[in-house]
Symmetry: C2
Subunit: 496 residues, 2 copies
C-alpha cells in the first residue's frame, strides 16, 4: 500500500536526503484521482494469473477478466477488412500482393495519399488527417439522416478518452465558489471522476434511476444543479449513451428534455456516444444528441453547445489498442475552437494508425465493393452475439435470488444490484473495504471471476452493485454467470 504522508521523515534520519517528489510534495490533484477499472481487483487478478502459471493450486483454473470493455482481449476477432487496409498502409510493398482485395488496396492508397510523405510514420496535422475528418463528417451525416456535419468541427483523438479530457480541460476555470462544476451520471465511467479530480474541477453527481432501467430524469438533473450552485459554477453536463456501466439506451424524448434543460441552465453538453453501434434491446434505438439537437430547431440547433465523442474501441470493431477516436463540436465559439486546436497541437497528433483505422470505420465497404459481403457478415456476427449475451446475462442474473439486473439495452456491461447480508457489510467495514469491494475480492479469490465493484462507479448510498462485461465468449459466459450467481448465494448463506 502507499506510504502515509510523513513516513519519509524516518528515511531522512538515515542520512539520506529526502526525495524531491513524495506523496507530500506531489500534485495533490493527481493524488486524489481514483480509478477503479484498473484498481486493486485487477492487480490481484494479475497476481492470481501468475500464481496459476507457477502451478499454485486454486479453486479455479483460469482468471476470467470481465472487468474491462476490451472485446479482443476476450477473444473477439478483428474485422478482416479493417486489418487488411491497415496492413497495406503499414507496409505498402504489399500493395502489389494478390492476397488483398482490390477495395482494400484502393482504400490504403487513398489513406497513404493523405499522409505526410505518404507514410503512417509522419505526424499528421494535429486535428487529424483532413481526408479522414471529411469522411467522418459524411459518416455522421449518414448516421443522422442527412443533417450536415462540418469536417472543421471534427477533431481526431487518441481514443475518446483523450478528446473527453481535452474538452473538460477547456471548461475548467475559477476558484472557490466559482470553480467549474461538471454534472456527471452516477453510476459513471470513472474517466470522468478521474479527469475532474486531476483538473481540480467540481464533480456534480446526478443519479440515474435504477428503478426505471437507469433512466435519466430531468428533475434529478435539476436537483443536482441547484444543490451544486451553492458551492461551484456548474458549466457542463456529461451524458453517456448508451450507458457505461449501466447499459441503458436513452429515449428520444429524454434527450430532448436534457437538451432543453442544458439550454435553459446554460450548460455545455458532452455526449459520450462511444457505444452508438452497441444497441441490442428491442424497441431501443440510438439517437445522437447532434441529430436531436438539430431537429429541435432554433434556438437549440443554433446555440446549444455540444461535443459528441466516438471511438474505434467499441462497436463491432473493438479496436481498443489502436487508440482512435474523434470529437465533433457543435455551436462552439470559434475562438475557443481555435484554442482547442492549439491545445491539441502541443501533443503533435493522434496516432496515425488509429486514424487510418478510424477511416475504415467511418467509411466502410459499400455494396458494390468486393469486401462488402464479408465485412457485413463479420460485423453482424459480432453484434448478434453481443445481443445474445446481453439477453442471457440479464436472464441468468434475474433468476438468482438477491441479484437484480436491469436490461442490458446497449453498450457492453451489466450492472446488477446485489443484496449483501448486514454481517458481510459489517465485516467489510471492519476490514476498511467497501462492502461490494469485499464481495468482488472474495469472488475473485474463490472463482477466478474478475468484476469491478459498484463503488468504483458510484451508486446510491446503501446499495451494492458490480459491473461485469458481457464480452466473454458464449461458451464461457453461461458458466461464468452461473458460478457468479452460486457464489452470491453461498456468500449470502455464509454471512447470514
Amino acid at each position: 500500500m502507499a506510504l502515509r504522508a510523513g513516513d519519509h521523515s524516518r528515511v531522512a534520519m538515515n542520512g539520506l536526503k529526502e526525495k524531491v517528489l513524495t506523496l507530500d510534495t506531489m500534485n495533490p490533484c493527481v493524488r486524489r484521482v481514483e480509478y477503479a477499472v484498473r484498481g486493486p481487483i485487477v492487480l490481484r487478478a494479475l497476481e492470481l494469473e501468475q500464481e496459476l502459471r507457477q502451478g499454485v493450486k486454486k479453486p479455479f483454473t483460469e482468471v476470467v477478466r470481465a472487468n474491462i470493455g476490451d472485446a479482443q482481449a476476450m477473444g473477439q476477432k478483428p474485422i478482416t477488412f479493417l486489418r487488411q487496409v491497415l496492413a497495406l498502409c503499414v507496409h505498402p510493398d504489399l500493395l502489389n500482393s494478390p492476397d488483398f482485395p482490390e477495395d482494400a488496396r484502393r482504400r490504403a492508397e487513398r489513406i497513404l495519399q493523405a499522409c505526410g510523405g505518404h507514410s503512417l510514420g509522419a505526424y499528421s496535422v494535429s486535428s487529424g488527417i483532413q481526408l479522414i475528418r471529411e469522411d467522418a463528417a459524411r459518416y455522421i451525416e449518414r448516421r443522422d439522416g442527412g443533417i450536415p456535419a462540418d469536417p472543421n468541427n471534427i477533431f481526431l483523438s487518441t481514443g475518446a478518452s483523450d478528446a473527453i479530457v481535452t474538452v473538460l480541460k477547456l471548461l475548467v476555470a475559477g476558484e472557490g465558489p466559482t470553480r467549474t462544476g461538471v454534472l456527471i451520471p452516477i453510476p459513471q465511467y470513472p474517466l470522468y471522476s478521474a479527469a475532474l479530480a486531476e483538473l481540480d474541477a467540481v464533480q456534480v453527481d446526478y443519479y440515474l434511476d435504477e428503478e426505471r432501467a437507469w433512466a435519466l430524469d430531468v428533475a434529478e438533473l435539476r436537483r443536482a444543479l441547484c444543490q451544486a450552485r451553492g458551492h461551484c459554477c456548474p458549466r457542463a453536463l456529461c451524458i453517456i449513451n448508451p450507458g457505461n456501466p449501466t447499459g441503458q439506451v436513452q429515449a428520444r424524448e429524454c434527450i430532448e428534455a436534457v437538451i432543453r434543460f442544458a439550454f435553459e441552465e446554460r450548460l455545455f453538453l458532452m455526449a459520450d456516444e462511444v457505444y452508438q453501434d452497441n444497441v441490442y434491446a428491442e424497441g431501443s434505438r440510438f439517437h445522437s444528441f447532434k441529430k436531436v439537437l438539430m431537429e429541435m430547431g432554433p434556438p437549440y440547433a443554433t446555440q446549444q453547445e455540444l461535443a459528441s465523442f466516438h471511438s474505434v474501441s467499441k462497436g463491432y470493431m473493438g479496436e481498443c489498442g489502436f487508440r482512435g477516436g474523434y470529437v465533433e463540436v457543435v455551436n462552439m465559439d470559434p475562438a475557443v475552437q481555435q484554442q482547442m486546436q492549439k491545445l491539441m497541437s502541443v501533443r503533435l497528433c493522434p496516432p496515425v494508425p488509429g486514424q487510418a483505422l478510424l477511416h475504415t470505420v467511418v467509411s466502410p465497404p459499400t455494396p458494390s465493393d468486393p469486401s462488402f459481403a464479408q465485412f457485413q457478415a463479420e460485423r453482424q456476427a459480432v453484434l448478434a452475439e453481443l445481443a445474445a449475451k446481453a439477453k442471457l446475462t440479464e436472464q441468468v442474473f434475474n433468476e438468482a435470488p438477491g441479484i437484480r439486473c436491469n436490461p442490458v439495452q446497449g453498450a457492453m456491461y451489466a450492472f446488477p444490484r446485489v443484496q449483501l447480508p448486514p454481517r458481510a457489510v459489517q465485516h467489510a467495514q471492519e476490514l476498511g473495504l467497501a462492502p461490494d469491494m469485499f464481495f468482488c475480492m472474495r469472488l475473485l479469490e474463490e472463482t477466478g471471476i474478475c468484476v469491478v465493484p459498484g463503488s468504483g462507479f458510484g451508486q446510491r448510498e446503501g446499495t451494492y452493485h458490480f459491473r461485469m462485461t458481457i464480452l466473454p465468449p458464449m461458451e464461457k459466459l453461461r458458466p461464468l454467470l452461473e458460478t457468479l450467481s452460486q457464489f452470491h448465494a453461498k456468500f449470502t448463506r455464509e454471512y447470514s
Copy 2:
C-alpha cells in the same frame, strides 16, 4: 485572429444567449499556452500550398516544410524490418506468407503472444506490454555498458510528449510563492513552455551559451535558480540532449556537473534524450544521464531522482506517426511511482502499434538474423545522410554574411543566428510582429521555405534566430540553404 475578450457582448445584444464557453470563461491556463512549431507560419504554409494547387502564381513552385522534425514527411523511407514486423502484427494472416523473412515472423509472433487476445486491438496494461518493457530494459543496459535497468521503472507512452507531460504533472503543486518552478533551457522545445503554462507551473529559464556552441553552464543554472527562488519553488530541471532546437551534444563533464548541481539543489532531473541516436559531429558522443549518474556512485547513484525520455519519432526510424515512446524513472519514490501508474491508467494505455514498433527499436535484428544486413544498411544510410546534411547546413550558413550557425553536433536542427537591420526590426515592431517572425514570414512568402522564428523557442533579448530542420533530401537541401542565404542578403539590403 482570435476574438478579443469582451467582443462577444455584441453578439449577446443580437438576442442570442452568450456561449457557455468563451475566451473569457475558458481555462485561462490553456489560453496562455503558446506553440510556435505549428503556429501562424505553418498555417500560412498550408494556405500557400493550397494556392499553388489552385494555380495561383508564386515566386516558387513548392513549399518546403523545414519547420518540424518529421523525417518521413520529408521523404525518408521507413526501415523495412520495422514495417514488416508491424504488418505481421496488424494482420496475422500474413504470418504464413513467404514474403516475410523468418525473423520478422518470429518477432511478430512474440509480440502478439504478449498482447491481450494475441491482438494489437486489445488494450495493454497501462504502463505498456510487459515484454516490451523488459526488452527496453535490456536495450538501456546495452546502451549504458551493462548498468542494470529495471522494467518496472519503464513506462511506455504515447510518444515522448505524453511521458514528459505526465512527469511534469506529478511535479506541479503549490500556489503563489510555493508554486512549482521548472528550469528549462532557452532556446527550448516549446512542448515544455506549453505544458508548464497549461499546468500553471512557473517556467524558469536558463540560457544556453551560444558563444560556446550552446553549452550548458552550471553558473547560469545557479543564476536562474537563485532568481527564481524569490517567487516560486523550483523543483525540477529539464535538459534536452542532444538539443532541440540547438543541436548541441553535451560533454560528459557537463552532465556530471549538472547532476551534482541538481543533487545539491534538490531538483528532480528530466532528461529529454529522444535524439540519442542522432549524434554526428566528430568528437561528440551521446552520454545518457542514467549512465553518468550511476557511474558517479553514491550518493548520486542511489538518491538523485531522474526521468529519461525516449521516442520512436526520431533517431534513424523517424516513426513520428506511431506515437511510441517511453520514460525510465530512477530513484523515484515508490509511492509516487504508484501514483504515476494510476495516472496513466486513466487514459487506459498507449497505442499498441506504437508499442510494437518500439519493440523492434529496442530489440533490433542481431548479426545472426536474416534481416540483420538490410536493417543495418538502411539504418547506417539514414544516419550517414543526416550527418552529411548537418555538416552541409553549418557550412553553407557560415559562408553567408550576417548568418552564424553553431555546429549541428546532433539532433535534426540548425538554429542559426541572423543579423536583422534595425529598420527591419522597427518595421516588424510596427506590424506587431517579433522581428524574426517578420523575417520568416517574408522568407516563406518569397521562397516557399518554411522555418520557425527563434522567438518561438526563446533567445537572448536582441538576438534573432530561426530553426530549420536538416531533413529535406540532399538534392533539395543545398538549393534551399543557398536560397535562404541569398534571401537574407536581399532582405538585409532592402532594409539597410
